[in-house]
Amino acid sequence: MTRTGRLLRRRADHLLTGFFNGLVSLVDAIMHPLQNWVGVRGMAYIFVLPNLLIFGVFILFPMLLNFYYAFTGGTNLFPDQRPFVGMDNLTRLFECGDFLVPNSCREDLFWRAAANTFVFVILQVTVLVFIALVTALILNRNIIGRGFFRSVFFYPVLLSPVVVALIWRWILQQDGLLNALIMALGGERVAFLTSAQWAQFWVIVISVWAQMGFYTLILLAGLQAIPAELYEAAAMDGAGNWQSFWSITLPLLMPTMLVVLVLSMIRAVQVFDQVFAFTGGGPGTATLYMVQYVYVTGFANQTKEYGMAAAASLVMALVLLLLTVGQLRLGRTSGIS
């Protein structure tokens, strides 16, 4: 480094130190009297206050409001203009001949959305976790271009769900890229977006493609936290790859797996934006999921039934709560902390 370079660097360091010292003095000037006033114990509350305020305004208050709306009727938006209807909305949701046959329910669309969401959660989470695990295991090895592949798998996570949906819609539509390819190879055009089964299949494929990188990264971090000595010891005892996987990798990865399972399941139950932009819930109601039902009932229909939408989201929140508690209990009883 030249003399001028050293001088410049020293000046930059000096400026930076001055800036941070000034900042610390400023914070101290506010915090010091505050600590004298509320005491050391009280400072803990001061530090969590901003977060609590954000949580209160944007999460707790809307939750309480949703709870109130679930017991009101009419189409007026403001709470003071909405008549109290007690359990009417919930009763209407659960008025069903056979819960497994949506057509026998008064709110058939709610039960279709519930059934679709149930199937989606089971299939999507299973496929997602399996593929993310396999990918993480591969990327944890010393393969050529490991850094490149890690980036490639993570890239779709960075894309907006609407962009993902539009890209895939362009690929899969009647005159889309995939059909053009199939026809160029002498095949028949496939109704990817107008057949219920195909649409459900592609919704799962796309959501796995878009989210897999995120969960792969979490699992990769879990895998890298497993000490290499354990594998060396197992190898010395004559354990093969499978035995190592079943007896070391999987048990030690379980806490991370539990996190991945809880997160992916919650996200799967909340599926909306991507599918809404991709299929709009169709064909028919084949890809209508719970959040879209809530959105359509409360906001997109010409008759805006906020009470019904709030009741449906209340039911959904309860299911999510039960699922999460169940998973955590399961984790605890099997010794995963």
Partner: protein
């Protein structure tokens, strides 16, 4: 010198801030079918030149935004000052009463259909003025005449005034087959679009006692026709089946020459003039005939002002200007819209496309044939409860989720629930 410059800068800053304070900014939420946004902008530019203190910003959005998001914005008091809307009832009670603000309320009453002005009013109100129709529309079918000529098949409406939907279905299928065209017939995915043909087939939704019955032989007949198109594969499935829960038009298939007959409406004329031009011969044909006659659906868009505006006087100035004979005449002539104004006289539509002029004449000829049920659906204030259930439940029949019987029962239930929820 520096002091002088500083003083000048302060003076300019002060003047601009005073000017900014004096300037009133109004917003219009608007959607486009064709070139009407451009024409509106030019009209507003002239208005702004004549009224230097008022700036009008046009927010052009997708039609679905007007249907789904605008009602929420207005309900929450966050709406624009004015908007172009099609669902009049969705905003009842939220409009601005322009009667005391406009220059001549009598002009408004004399110039626009009473049914439209009344459709905007709240219950029991018979005097308020909330807006004006800037476009009258009629639904009806278009055909690709070139394909008929290529197939050597005569257009049935050339010699027969009363062609049925069944006959059109058969003939367009023959034309499609003979010319290798992918699709024979299609209709926009819309309950409004479906209702005209259903009324023609004899359907009646509104009973004399004020109740609504959706299950009629005419409704079933038209529903079966629509289902038949899908079963036979002669209609593009993307329109009704592949569009989720939204409105969808089949216009692109028609414009691209992939469709023989397209059931839509007069608002497509402007777009067809631009996008098809003379690529092929297109023509508007009379609405098919059935037990209920030969009716389409009336409709159109209304320019309304909202009550939450902070500048009612300025809004009234803009509305007066846009509702004037001169502005509406130019607007209609340049957009190729059928005017909603009753006294514009003969219009000189600005197009060289002969098909467009002929189509306008054809749609105007459809107006006297519109039946009472069609008017009641459009202006009776209950369309909000009827149109979307028809669209969504019939789609469920097309995908095999419901039988037609189940779908009709569900439509009735949806209509009843929507009316009950809204207190109608």
């Amino acid at each position: 010198m520096k002091k002088v410059l500083l003083l000048l800068a302060l003076l300019v800053l002060g003047l601009t801030s005073v000017a900014a304070q004096d300037n009133v900014e109004l917003r219009i939420t608007w959607y486009d079918d064709g070139n009407e946004g451009t024409v509106l902008r030019e009209l507003l530019d002239r208005f702004e030149a004549e009224n230097p203190g008022i700036t009008v910003i046009v927010d052009t959005v997708a039609y679905n935004v007007v249907l789904e998001q605008l009602p929420l914005q207005v309900e929450a008091g966050e709406g624009p000052d004015m908007a172009r809307v099609t669902d009049f009832a969705a905003f009842r009670g939220r409009y601005l009463d322009l009667r005391p603000l406009v220059a001549d309320a009598a002009y408004w009453e004399a110039s626009f259909p009473a049914a439209v002005l009344q459709a905007l009013r709240s219950e029991d109100d018979t005097s308020a003025i909330h807006g004006f129709p800037n476009q009258f529309t009629v639904t009806g079918p278009f055909i690709n005449r070139t394909l008929f000529e290529q197939a050597g098949i005569e257009v049935p409406s050339d010699t027969n005034d009363a062609v049925t939907w069944a006959e059109w279905t058969d003939i367009t299928a023959q034309v499609a087959e003979a010319t290798g065209t992918p699709y024979a017939i299609a209709m926009d995915r819309s309950g409004h679009r479906f209702s005209g043909p259903a009324f023609s087939e004899g359907a009646t939704y509104f009973n004399e006692d004020g109740t609504i019955t959706m299950d009629t032989p005419g409704f079933r007949l038209m529903a079966e026709t629509l289902i038949g198109w899908h079963t036979a594969g002669i209609t593009p499935a993307e329109v009704w089946i592949g569009s989720g829960g939204s409105y969808a038009a089949a216009a692109d298939f028609f414009i691209n020459g992939q469709l023989v007959m397209y059931m839509s409406g007069s608002w497509q004329i402007g777009r067809f003039s631009n996008d098809i031009a003379d690529a092929f011969d297109w023509q508007a044909v009379p609405n098919p005939t059935g037990e209920g006659g030969s009716t389409g659906m009336p409709g159109g868009t209304v320019m309304v002002a909202f009550g939450d505006t902070e500048h009612p006087e300025e809004v009234a100035l803009v509305m007066d200007y846009l509702a004037s004979v001169e502005a509406l005449k130019e607007f209609s002539e340049r957009t190729l819209f059928i005017p909603g104004h009753l006294g514009l006289g003969e219009l000189d539509y600005q197009t060289d496309v002969e098909a467009a002029k002929a189509a306008l004449t054809a749609f105007v000829a459809e107006v006297p044939k519109l039946n009472d049920q069609a008017y009641e659906l459009q202006y009776g204030g209950r369309a909000f409860a009827i149109n979307n259930p028809i669209r969504d439940r019939l789609t469920q029949v097309l995908t095999g989720e419901l039988t037609l019987d189940e779908a009709i029962a569900r439509i009735q239930q949806d209509v009843d629930d929507a009316l009950a929820a809204s207190g109608s």
